[in-house]
Amino acid sequence: MPLTSFEIGYAQEALGRRLTREELVLLEAEWSEHCSYKSTREELKRLKTEAPLVIVGPGRDAGAIKLFDDVAIIARIESHNHPSALDPYNGAATGVGGIVRDVISLGAKPVLLADALYMGSGRTRHSRWLSKNIIRGISDYGNRLGIPTATGLAWFSEAYEKQPLINVACVGIAKPEGILPGSVKPGDPIIMLGNTTGRDGFLGSSFASKPLDESDVAAIQVGNPFIEKLIIEALTEAFDKKLLSLVKDLGGGGLGTAIVETAAQNDVGVVIHLDRVHLREPDLEPFEIIASESQERMIVVPRNEGALGELFSIFDKYGLEYSVIGYFSKERKVKMLFRGLPVVDLPVGLAVSPPKTPREVLGREPCNKEAPMLRNIDLKEAVVKVLSSPRVSLKAVIYEQYDWGVGGRTSLPPGYGDSAVIWLMDNTKRGFAVAVRGNPGYTRLDPFVGAAISFAEAYRRVASVGAEPLAALDNINSGNPEKPEQHYYTLRMIEGIAHASQALNLPVIGGNVSLYNEDESGSMIDPVASVLVIGRIEDVTKALTTIPIGDSPLVLAGDTKTELGGSEVQRVLLGRGYGRPPEFKPIEEKRLGIFAKEVSEKGIANAAHSVSLGGVVATAFKMAYKGGVGVTIESTAICDCDPVEALFSESQARILYEVKREKLQDFLSLAKAFDIKAGVIGNTLKDERLFRLTHRSNKIMELGFEDVSEALEGLENLG
């Protein structure tokens, strides 16, 4: 989006002269929403970002924590919403490419990808075309890089019919001392590595900072995972040989933004010779070289002059192109020259400090209609509708297109656990767990509570496999910050994340805010906060799957209230959510988390599943179906209330366990010791593959294996 006349005036006054075309382009990218976070910067300060384990907090290309004394985790999440609406295949693919480069920038080896996809209903041809190509884009790019996409979430709703949301995350590992300091000093040469710079992807980041229209198609980029793979290989070799001091992705805003940010972070200046950049089209103009967002390009700075030769021979080995384009300088100025003539000459301080953009916010909560009562409904119909909702049903058709097992580290693949569990493959059994959650149904009704619940659900899913949650990343997706009623959602979601990070005492080590997600009529998509949580697991062989073995008691740990606001059963029976989302219960979540870790370490359960979408009934039936066993559940054991409320309530802080029969007393005593409400709500069956619900011991519903299969496998025609 072009600079406002106010912003141009501000810059020209500071300089005492007119801006050159190249400077205009540089500031336009640097001051865009995408790069400067000008609408949310103040609110983001509220997040808890510090903890003893944090090595690198928000601000660099990725965040880092200490997983074990000798292992660091590096992670980042980012959206690629706008490009994916027009070219879903390349939009999603290049989203993966960008996030991986961010993680490598800290000196990490990328070992896991996660995706949170919010897509259309699947009922229109257009939305099916989008989903199919988004999934194929992630598959084709991630698979070729050899990084497993081993966890994620897929949400489907009319709200995303034409504007899907694509949030992708990458997690890498490194030795703590191997994390690049990211520091440079005057005199250090700057090398540009990778793809040639071209007209493709011109001004993409300001493109992500305004609503879409058809004329934006020039900004479409084709991803080249093969070059990216070679960049990963070459940099890994350079990291091992300690040849580098800084690596930075050329992402949103291109060369100009990457250079300016690096200079600002290191309190130095920079001199760039734009004509030395290796180009795709020889006639590229200097302003185009500054702003091009051609993919698969990075800036690297050698540790010292002597490293250059060895570095170049590594790049040559992998057939990668590179050019030395300039150096860092003492004078804190960004200077860019083209054929010897200066085209940019800006103080670094000015380039990174856009004038404050005041945003109005609607100060009151939106008024939600209370829900019509859901009693005396046809229970069987309700259960089948919930199970066959694409949000609830099984996602194999998606994740079986992802190479979830490459790398040999995947201990819990998608579909088999509440989170992905990744083994370190280092002659120990240590590993980590990752889950990503987001529920637009909740954030639409209450952005504050909804965002906090995304956080809690990701936290709980990491805990339920037996891991200890350590850190989080968030991705806010919302509307137009220039519209007060839409900007309200953005700020309230950030506040919800901030509240959850404080209340659950978990640092947020990185995040992304994607604004301007609105359709051509100007209405906002369902706003949502994706939260990714990373946890530590000492022994991956003790991780709990969601797969029961049958003929064992089902125990619900956690308290059930009659909370149907924004629930799946409302959406499938009433067409939308009403009322308030369930309560966010941080104290209970933390307690449950520690309990869950003990359960897995003591080995007293066969399976565990966090209770969320569709309530206990959807959770229990999915578990049983995956285990190839039957199940019977007594509704009053969940909650002494109406069966619809007991079965479909989405109360937070609950995990459903299949407990080892002979360990039932141990399990219940442990729960009691933690002051967690826990009770047997039913059994898994071995020989009878039926799905039965009772109320005061009277059968109120029964489904056969075939019925459940048909409902849960319904996504088939979507991929």
Binding site: D140, R144, E400, V406, Y416, T541
Partner: protein, 223 residues
């Protein structure tokens, strides 16, 4: 200690886990070798691991088959060096003509990553020596171009070969792996290196481990 080369082309993905299995299960001296540097005479066996050599551009395995390493591989095949191609490695060996047949795009026209059950027939040779005839080993597959095709399957099923119990990709005769020279050169689409340790998937068994144990034992016995 006997030495195993793990061949690396640009775009190879599975060299590290394959190396880990060779070292920790086969108990052999493994090393990743950059393709132009591969000299067959320096090794007692070679594994072409999985991945997307040259991005699978053109056709999976095609551009890798243009490598300098191909002459070494063809020569090694002639004198009987044990050669294993896994997934993309199988595709390269089939492009080279070391293994018969072709690997076409999956019948579903999609990449497929899932666990499958693989039945081994006539197991013989250095890679399958510890597997019994008809034994079923679960392993994951992960490929887009794995639909095996050949005009005449008769010569295939006379040699050691592998069969999917449930055909995931439309392969003729559910073929998951083929071999020549009595199993000395073997290609399989499933990934044994991802099914080598029990915690590589908590639900399944270690179907791939037997292949790494076999090569370790075979080489130590002096294959």
């Amino acid at each position: 200690m006997r030495r195993v080369a793990i061949m690396k082309y640009p775009g190879t993905n599975c060299e590290n886990e394959t190396l880990y299995a060779v070292r920790n299960v086969s108990k052999l001296d493994g090393k990743v070798v950059w393709h132009p540097d591969f000299k067959a005479r320096e090794w007692d066996a070679v594994v072409l691991p999985g991945g997307f050599s040259y991005g699978d551009y053109g056709r999976a395995g095609l551009i890798a088959s243009w490598s300098k390493a191909s002459r070494e591989l063809l020569n090694a095949f002639d004198y009987g060096l044990p050669i294993l191609g896994i997934c993309n490695g199988f595709q390269v060996l089939s492009e080279l003509g070391i293994l018969p047949g072709n690997l076409l795009y999956n019948a579903s026209a999609k990449f497929i990553a899932k666990w499958v059950n693989v039945k081994f027939h006539n197991p013989r040779g250095p890679w399958l020596s510890l597997i019994s005839d008809g034994e079923v080993l679960p392993m994951p597959i992960a490929h887009a171009e794995g639909r095996y095709y050949i005009d005449d399957v008769e010569p295939i099923i006379g040699e050691p070969w592998a069969e999917y119990l449930e055909n995931p990709n439309g392969s003729i005769q559910s073929i998951a792996g083929v071999s020549r020279k009595g199993g000395v050169a073997l290609g399989i689409m499933p990934h044994p290196e991802r099914a080598t340790f029990p915690w590589q998937s908590l639900k399944y068994t270690t179907g791939g481990r037997r292949i790494f144990e076999s090569i370790g034992e075979s080489l130590r016995r002096g294959w």
